[in-house]
Structures are given as structure tokens and as C-alpha cells.
């Protein structure tokens, strides 16, 4: 085993650093529109240099580089170290673009990819509906063809859309063949959210978190989208939505967040003066056993991805493992904060400016850790996936008809 990236990677790293020194940061006095312009230009240059949008064809504003997990990782590390703007992330890059590349028409690719890469289009996900929960195929939002057959008329409701308040567009599943079997009556549509038939509302969460950064509900009242914005065959939307590309997705970074959070938990124990208690030390070390297992397994997954080998079932376990560790950390944190827990942290869950936050800030994690188990697809679904796809156990009777 060898955790160094190897010489080639280090040479490449030097190259990336040289590039960054040459093009970043902007002049200290750059502000507002000028700064925006500079960043836009920087991204363009970085893309030309082959550092950003590597999975995207040049034709659509990408740099169209061969898949190289290690290089991608080096780029992530160096851009992060230089605090330079990396790819514009979000649903657009993670979901819309890969789906378009695989299933979109040339016209659609032309129409959407470049603008998404440029950050002009921000995409919201339109899968979940009130009552659908883990049963994503139970789509009730209706799509009907206009009289002239040129447009889809959409009525219904979508929920749990992240970045909902910022989104300019949405990719969504709508039921277009009410009489077809559950999975065969769904069509995958793109839609412009800026139209009278669509209203949005932020969802207030248990943390109290609300406002622009949170999840949204969308209401569709005769909203419209051109039939030419439909991806894949009519009625085949469910299968389109299963499309996911994994270009360079593997990233060691995934484990860093957890490691940082655990380090903060140790700090908390220190701050509240309980780091010397044997009960706390034992519990911390117990949790760290799982934290390190997660960390080194992410190395393993990264290594397999780099070698183009299949890591096996363990890849299916990372999400649930993360959720369960978060749960254990929450219970310990709740013990540690003690009476600080009486006070709700300022800007709870918010991402805006905050006042100084003491141990009570852990309430965000204590509640948020429950969010994971929900957002990440309910944990019971994860357990089914591990049991069925990972261990090869027979399908759940109630669901087997469903998949």
C-alpha cells in the first residue's frame, strides 16, 4: 500500500500550482462586478488549461479531459489550498449535465450545458413529492400535452428541493401516462422556473432553519415547458432518472469533513472541561474507531476508482456508516454540551453571518444528524440496498413488485 500519489501526480501538482500562482488571486482591491468578471475569466482560463469541467466536451464549454481520478484529486486539493474558485457545483453539474450528456439531444446539450457550466442556469431537483418519501416512483404531479402537442402542461407539487430559492430551472419527473404501470408512466422534463404557473416556498426545518438557503416546496399550476425539453422517451422518465455518471466522482475529500467534525467534538470535550473523564475518553475513542474506518475505506474506494477496479459492497455502506456515526456523535455532543443545550445557537443551521457561537452550536449537528438519515434516502432503504445489492439477499416482498 502507498498513500502517496506518485511522481507523475507531484509533477502535475507543481504545474497546477504554477498556474494558480500566475492566475489567482485577483488584485486585493477588486470588487463587485469587476471581481465577478475576474472569476468568470479565471474559470475560463482554468478550463482551457484542462483543470475544470474535465468530463464535459469542449463543444459545451468543458475541457474534455481523459478520466484521471488522481489528477482530479490533485486539482481539488490545489484549488482548495489556493482558495481558488473550482467548478460550479450543485445539481446542475452533478445531475443535469451528466443526464444530458447521456440522454439529451444535441439541441438540448447545446441549449443547457454551456449555460449550466457558466453558472447562468441553476438547477433544482424535482423528484420528491409530499407523501412520496423513499418511494420516488409514486409520482403524482401530472403532465398533459397541450392541444397543439407542443407543450407539457404541468400540475402538482414537488418538495425538498435544495437550492430551491436560487434555482432558475428544474429537472423533474411527471406522470404523463396515468394508466401505465407505476414505473412506465413517468416522463423526465426540464422546465424554466421563471413563469406565472410556478410558485415556490421555503420549508422551515426543525432546526428553525428557513430562508433562501434551505429546501423548498414548488407548486405547479398549469406550468408549461416545451415538448422539446423532454429528455428521453415519453413514459421512460423513471429510467432516465436512474442515469448517473461517475466521472471522477471518487474523492478522498468525502472523509475529511467527518474527520474535521470529530476533531471538533474532541475540542468540545476539552472546552467543557470533560476531556479527562474516562467515560468521555472511552466514548470518543469508540466513535473514532468508526470515523477512521470510514476515512481509510474512502482511501480504499479512491484507490479502486483510480485503478478502475470494483471495490465491491463496501461502496454501498458509506452513506449509512456516515449517518450512524453522526448519530453517535450527536448523542455524545448532547451529553457534553450539558446546560449549554438550553440555548439555541445563533443562526441555527443558517449559512449567513453568525455571532460568536459556543458549545450550543452543536445543537445544529445534534438535529442535523437526523437530517442526513432522511436526506440521504431513509436509512432503512440504505439497509435494504446493502442487504439486497451488497449481500445478495432476496428482494423485499412488499417492494420487489416495485423495482
Amino acid at each position: 500500500m502507498d498513500l502517496s500519489y506518485g511522481e507523475a501526480a507531484e509533477t502535475f501538482r507543481a504545474e497546477v500550482r504554477a498556474f494558480l500562482t500566475a492566475h489567482w488571486p485577483p488584485a486585493a482591491d477588486l470588487r463587485g462586478a469587476d471581481l465577478k468578471a475576474f472569476i468568470r475569466a479565471f474559470r475560463a482560463t482554468a478550463t482551457e488549461a484542462g483543470y475544470l469541467y474535465r468530463a464535459i466536451p469542449k463543444a459545451y464549454g468543458g475541457s474534455e479531459q481523459p478520466v484521471d481520478v488522481i489528477k482530479a484529486q490533485v486539482i481539488r486539493e490545489e484549488f482548495a489550498r489556493a482558495r481558488a474558485p473550482a467548478e460550479i457545483g450543485g445539481n446542475g453539474m452533478n445531475m443535469t449535465v451528466p443526464t444530458l450528456l447521456e440522454k439529451g439531444t444535441d439541441e438540448q446539450k447545446e441549449l443547457f450545458i454551456r449555460k449550466t457550466v457558466a453558472g447562468d442556469y441553476v438547477w433544482g431537483q424535482g423528484y420528491s413529492e409530499p407523501g412520496s418519501g423513499s418511494d420516488l416512483a409514486s409520482v403524482r404531479t401530472k403532465g398533459e400535452l397541450s392541444a397543439d402537442g407542443s407543450k407539457w402542461i404541468i400540475n402538482g407539487q414537488k418538495i425538498w428541493t435544495s437550492q430551491g430559492m436560487q434555482s432558475t430551472h428544474m429537472f423533474m419527473l411527471v406522470r404523463t401516462e396515468p394508466d401505465a404501470p407505476k414505473h412506465d408512466g413517468i416522463t423526465y422534463l426540464l422546465i424554466d422556473l421563471d413563469q406565472p404557473g410556478i410558485t415556490r416556498r421555503p420549508i422551515r426545518q426543525m432546526t428553525g432553519e428557513e430562508g433562501d438557503h434551505t429546501f423548498c416546496e414548488f407548486f405547479f399550476d398549469n406550468a408549461e415547458t416545451p415538448v422539446s425539453w423532454q429528455i428521453g422517451e415519453r413514459g421512460q422518465g423513471w429510467y432516465v432518472s436512474r442515469t448517473t455518471l461517475k466521472h471522477e466522482r471518487a474523492s478522498i475529500g468525502s472523509a475529511d469533513g467527518l474527520g474535521r467534525q470529530f476533531a471538533k467534538l474532541v475540542e468540545l470535550a476539552r472546552d467543557v472541561g470533560r476531556i479527562d473523564e474516562p467515560v468521555i475518553r472511552d466514548k470518543l475513542a469508540q466513535i473514532e474507531g468508526f470515523v477512521l474506518s470510514h476515512r481509510y475505506t474512502s482511501f480504499r474506494l479512491f484507490s479502486c476508482a483510480a485503478a478502475g477496479e470494483d471495490p465491491g459492497p463496501v461502496a454501498l455502506m458509506m452513506k449509512l456508516l456516515l449517518t450512524e456515526i453522526g448519530h453517535e456523535m450527536a448523542l455524545l455532543a448532547q451529553d457534553l454540551i450539558g446546560e449549554h443545550g438550553f440555548v439555541e445557537p445563533s443562526g441555527a443551521g443558517g449559512r449567513g453571518n453568525r455571532g460568536p457561537r459556543g458549545p450550543e452550536k452543536w445543537l445544529d449537528q445534534i438535529m442535523g444528524s437526523l437530517g442526513n438519515s432522511i436526506a440521504g434516502g431513509a436509512s432503512n432503504i440504505q439497509r435494504n440496498i446493502i442487504g439486497e445489492r451488497g449481500l445478495g439477499l432476496p428482494r423485499d416482498l412488499a417492494m420487489s413488485g416495485e423495482r
Binding site: S134, Q205, D335, F342
Partner: protein, 330 residues
Amino acid sequence: MHFHLTQEQAAIQDAVRGTLADHWPLGRLHAFADGDEDFDRTSWDALMALGLGGILLPDSGMGLLDAALACEVAGEAAAAGPLIGQLLAVAAVAASGNGDVPLDALVSGEKVATLVHGGSAYVPCARAADYFLVVDRAAGVRLIPAGEGVTIEPLKSTDRSRPVSKVAIADGAGHAIFAAADAMTARIADAALVLVAADALGGAQKVTDMSVAYAKEREQFGQPIGRFQALKHQLAHMALDAEPARALVWYAAYASDADLPDAPRSAAMAKAHLCDVFVRSARAAVAAHGGIGYTWEYGLHYWFRRAAFDRAWLGSPSEHRARAADLAGW
């Protein structure tokens, strides 16, 4: 031999339950949670009209068990108001025979008393309180009238049903009720633990009931989700966590009423165990609900927050487990 609720006791719980259903529905709780008050006079008066204020009067014919049953329902409803402080203040003043305090006004609920845990600055419903009952095993029991050397700094409270403030009380302010050495001091401190355990029991039962009801009504994959064995077993474990613990609260209260030697230790065990149960149950309930349980509107979070309060108030579970270990002579 009788170790389950009498019909009278069940009837009292139903009365309290009904009153809170009328005067403290989720809508009121939502409004209260987003308001600035730390007390709700309407629901408080309705509860007091049932005579709860007098439960711990020496001649009430009731005792800590009955007080616990009332606090259990208050926890179930996430009721506002310092019920625990009020009941204990009445018990302390009545037992002390201190004439300077208008006992009747406390019994009737006209005057409001809140509990201050000796050594802690965090006090629920402090702004509304007319009296502060300071219970400190090391310093005794004092009752301080609001304004007599009491300074209050309101806080943004985690528990929206019982908003806390930071309170400072001048040394020697108010009336001395019991000295530290007086057996009543420990008795009242222990009683407080039992009443918090009862509040936690009610909360754990409530979130379990909400989860079971939701699992019966909510459908996924063409089934009520409660049919899925995994969720079914998670719900069974929530019930297994809360229901047998009920007798632990009963015994702790009974042991105090019967003045049994293990009363102090039972109080510590009940506080530690039930507060852990409530925290676990609240987490399990959100998970059992999925997305909707995570929304503010659904309201489950009020009990999650109340669980955080109960757990931290009057000492953490690990603190009381350590006490229980000492009291057992381990």
C-alpha cells in the same frame, strides 16, 4: 398490594389531558413558540382550575405519585408554564409553615413559582415568575420573590415550550425555607428529579404514539409503512424503551411518598433513565417519520427540544448515574 393506577388516578390524567387538548393544541404551541412570552396564562389557569396546584399540600390526600402523573401529561402535551416549580413551591412552603408567603395564591396558580436548580443560572419561565424556588442540596431551599435581588436575561431557548432565561439571584435574598441539613431539602431536590422523569416519560410516550399513528396512516410502495418489518421493529423498540420505564417513575414517586430508604437513589435512577429514553425516543421518532418529521410545521421537534431540556436540567444522566452508584455503595 396495589402497583398500578387507580381509576381516580387515570381519571385525573384524562382530565389534565383533555384540558390541555382544549387550551394547548399544536396551533397554540406554534404561536407560543414564535412569540416572545415565556408563559401562557390561559392554559396555566385552565390547569390550575383542575386543582393541580394543591396536589402536594400535606392534607391533599395525594402525593408525589399524583404530581408525577400530572407532570407526565404536561410532558405529553409539551405544556408551557413552570408546573414542576409550582408544585414543589407549594410543597415546600406548606411544609415549612412559613407565613410570609401567600400559600393560597400559589395553590390557586394566581402567583407563579419557578424552580431554580442550585448552582445553575438557567431558569424556565423566569420572566413570568412571581417566585423563584431555589433548591440547592448544599445550601438549602429558598423562595425569592421576583424583583428582590433577581436579575433576568432572556435567552433564545432551545425548548420553545419552556423558554429559559439566565437568572442571577443576590446572596441571601428572599425567604429561607429549609436549611441544607434539613431532610426536606434533599426530599424536595429528589422530588424534582422524579417530576422531570415524569415529564420525560410523557414526552417519550407522546413521540412514540405520534410515530405509531403515522406508520398506520402513511403509505409507501402501496403499503402502510407500519407493515414494513424494519420500521415495525423500530417502533416496537420505542415502546419497549418507554413503557416498562413507566413503572420506574411510579416506584420512585411511591418510594418518596412511602418514605422508603431507596427513595433518593430511585429518584436519581428515574431521572437518568427516563431522560435518556426521551432523547432516544425523540430521535427515533424523527427517523420513523422521515422528511415530515424534520419540518417545523409538523411539530415533532417541540418534543425533541423538550427532551434536550429535560436531559440537561437538574443534572445530566451520567451525573445522576454516578450519584446512584455512590448511593448504592459500589
